[in-house]
């Protein structure tokens, strides 16, 4: 019996050891990077603009949503059309929820396994570029002047390092604000307010009738877009450089007035009572179901708004002006969204680089812009086609087209580090939740800035 067991057990040990070896060699359990982290400067060799080779090339595109087909329908449709037009190029789309996507890209950068093209938030994209993980798109742009001519300068300039390295191009314009259900306002004899005092009156009337004014979800701390526009009306862009340099404080009289306004809205009952246990998607559901008059969101909800029961009467609003505000009060928000960036390793493979550049050329083409508009999103390029003014997208364009309304160069949280940006979200929701006083909320951001 013992003799029978002996060889069997040795076989078992052997099989287990071989399976471990197989796991490590397949990359399934890579404990350490196989390639050294790319520390060399971004590739400087010019990328030759040769006609796309007919050889089969596969490029990877990583997006920041779990289901690209449903959540980024425009990008998905563009990829499908691109592959039809370029049968020798296969684009493998990878989709992961935003937070996970950002973590994943950072880990992949460290292990040298970045996808060829990917979406990335501006602050970490800049860090990645400075660390040499991203390819320089300067030559791509200089060899494709028609692409450059189509894209507004700020969509390109936002993703340029001080040394001129072009590390990304905005993949869409970021237009944010408040969607408004005018059916609800109309039911109570209200109109879209213009000033903060008018907004307060709207809130009071709606609260008396048990209607939520602004749908929000604190479990999604980033969902404070409308409030980031509002802080611009208190001189944010005049102050922020000095604040970050330590010459001024985030806790200043102007910002204090703004946070006190948020507190006033909270006291009047503008937000859902369970705002602290809702997330952004639940807030969207609340609005789309007709249970809130406004939704703090952006152009990406245009398709859902259009499809809703109140879609025809909905409107898009950049929030109230403030009597005690600082500077221009007619501030809209149409800024570069997060960029598409290209992995530095792409530049070392001519065929892959050509395929990636062909994809980018197509993405910023008129044909792709039509696809984007048909999906109810805004294209980056200057669009000359017709947009139905009654559509969700049309309502955003209507708001953007108002005379004298000017967008800042970027969204306030996108010009600071991730940590400071998160502290800003925390401070705003802290007041909305009733956890922080306005002063405490401002101190939260100051503390985070000091820690950097």
């Amino acid at each position: 019996m013992k003799k029978k067991f002996k060889p069997l057990l040795w076989i078992l040990v052997l099989v287990m050891s071989m399976s471990l070896v197989a796991v490590f060699s397949s990359g399934g359990c890579k404990p350490v990077a196989e390639e050294p982290v790319a520390e060399e400067p971004v590739a400087e060799e010019p990328v030759a603009e040769e006609p796309v080779a007919e050889e089969e090339v596969t490029i990877s595109l990583a997006m920041h949503v779990a289901n690209v087909e449903n959540q980024e329908p425009a990008t998905y449709a563009i990829v499908q059309e691109f592959m039809k037009n370029n049968p020798n190029i296969t684009v493998e789309i990878q989709g992961t929820e935003t937070d996970e996507h950002i973590k994943k890209m950072k880990m992949m950068a460290a292990s040298g396994t970045l996808p060829d093209v990917f979406w990335m938030l501006p602050p970490p994209a800049k860090e990645m570029a400075e660390a040499g993980y991203l390819g320089d798109l300067t030559e791509f742009l200089s060899n494709n002047e028609d692409v450059v001519a189509r894209i507004p300068a700020n969509m390109i300039d936002a993703y340029k390092l001080d040394d001129g390295t072009q590390y990304g191009i905005a993949y869409q314009p970021l237009v944010t604000g408040l969607w408004v259900n005018n059916d609800i306002l109309g039911k109570y004899g209200l109109q879209v307010p213009e000033t903060f005092d008018e907004l307060k009156e709207v809130v009071k009337t709606l609260k008396e009738n048990d209607v939520v004014t602004i749908a929000k979800g604190a479990k999604s701390p980033f969902s404070v877009w409308a409030f980031l526009i509002m802080i611009c009306r208190y001189g944010y862009f005049d102050k922020i450089d000095g604040i970050l340099a330590g010459e001024a404080s985030y806790n200043n009289p102007d910002f204090l007035k703004f946070y006190q306004k948020i507190d006033e809205l909270r006291e009047l009952g503008a937000f859902p009572e369970n705002v602290s246990t809702l997330d952004y998607f639940q807030a969207v559901e609340m609005f789309m179901a007709g249970n809130a008059a406004m939704l703090d969101a952006g152009v990406w909800e245009a398709p859902k708004v259009e499809a809703s029961e109140f879609g025809v009467e909905a409107s898009f609003w950049f929030g109230p002006t403030f009597g005690d505000g600082v500077g221009n009060q007619k501030v809209s928000m149409a800024v570069p969204a997060a960029p598409f960036v290209v992995s530095a390793s792409v530049m070392e493979d001519q065929a892959k680089a050509n395929a990636v550049f062909e994809f980018l050329k197509y993405y910023f083409s008129d044909e792709a812009a039509d696809i984007i508009v048909n999906s109810q999103f805004l294209p980056v390029i200057k669009y000359s086609g017709e947009i139905d003014t009654t559509s969700g997208l049309g309502k955003v364009l209507e708001a953007l087209g108002k005379p004298d309304w000017v967008s800042p160069p970027n969204q306030p949280d996108l010009i600071v580090s991730e940590a400071i940006g998160n502290a800003m979200y925390d401070s705003i929701y802290g007041v909305i939740n009733g956890v922080y006083t306005p002063e405490e909320a401002l101190d939260i951001v100051d503390s985070k800035i000091a820690e950097q």
């Binding site: 057990l9 040990v13 937070d99 973590k103 970490p124 660390a131 604190a218 859902p272 369970n274 925390d426």
Partner: protein, 291 residues
């Protein structure tokens, strides 16, 4: 002697598991220690900052909040789990009808993924849309419809209860296994000597389950220090970090704020605290044993 019991064969057979343990447990712990002395955003090279992160911990109000919440969860679940699961085990170890079905039902929460547990309980505990407050309000008990989650006070206590619910069956199963190992003739002898059930419980059952108690205490302590998914799903650590526990705060610091160095210092402190708790308990047990 059967050849398998030779030392070198035993070591050889343990080697694969040991290798995996070193690669996925020990090395990450060492790496966490290393990164805790750095400032690192996850991109580029980490910058060595010495003990700066640890000094920051002492002044960080959010870290102290997460520490307090973790201890509250530990206290609540320690009492409820240890006492509740022991008594449940004693009950289920008797020959009562339906004991086997009850065991299966009580154990079932342990096989639900923790993130799903958090999701289920968020529908029950939400102060405005949850089942508990809905029933309380319908029953005219509005004054009992508290802010179980999403408020500033009750969340850690509620998390302790949810954790207890989740793990009760598992701890009970370990106690039942321990009870089954106690020889029945001891109870028979005690019964002959006139011991009543209460005396049997305190003078036979509990002393003979010392090792089982020790195992369960370790599991409860380490489990409480590892709680993440339930808090993450119930409140996300909010509102504004007031319901953070050590692991969720470490997660948010590392992955939301991209402060990996500081996040690892929180992880190291969590690790050291759980070892410290367990060591203290072990010392107390050993001392009592000597006495």
């Amino acid at each position: 002697m059967f050849w398998l019991s030779k030392k070198h064969i035993a070591i050889l057979l343990m080697l694969p598991a040991l290798l995996l343990y070193v690669l996925y447990i020990i090395i990450p712990i060492i790496m966490a220690f290393f990164y805790s002395f750095t400032k690192f955003s996850g991109i580029g090279e980490p910058e060595f900052v010495g003990l700066k992160n640890y000094a920051r911990l002492l002044k960080d109000p959010l870290f102290l909040v997460s520490l307090k919440n973790t201890f509250i969860i530990l206290a609540v679940s320690f009492v409820l789990l240890l006492v509740g699961s022991f008594l449940l085990a004693v009950l289920l170890n008797t020959k009562i009808k339906g004991a086997n079905a009850a065991k299966a039902l009580i154990f079932s929460p342990a096989i639900i993924a923790p993130i799903v547990v958090g999701l289920i309980w968020s529908f029950i505990l939400d102060p405005y849309t949850g089942l508990i407050n809905m029933f309380l309000e319908k029953g005219g008990l509005d004054f009992l419809a508290l802010k179980w989650i999403g408020g500033v006070t009750l969340t850690p206590y509620v998390v302790g209860v949810v954790y207890t619910w989740q793990v009760l069956g598992f701890i009970t199963t370990i106690f039942i296994a321990g009870l089954k190992l106690i020889p029945q003739n001891i109870y028979e002898a005690a019964s002959i000597d006139g011991a009543n059930p209460r005396q049997e419980l305190f003078f036979i059952t509990i002393p003979m389950l010392k090792q089982t108690f020790l195992i369960n205490v370790v599991l409860i302590i380490t489990g409480c220090f590892k709680i993440f998914e339930v808090v993450f799903q119930l409140t996300g650590g909010g509102p504004n970090h007031l319901s953070e526990v050590l692991v969720t705060y470490m997660y948010n610091t590392s992955f939301q704020y991209s402060e990996y160095g500081y996040g690892m210092s929180i992880a190291v402190v969590t690790f050291l605290l759980s070892i410290m708790f367990f060591s203290v308990y072990l010392l107390v047990i050993m001392k009592r044993k000597e006495e």
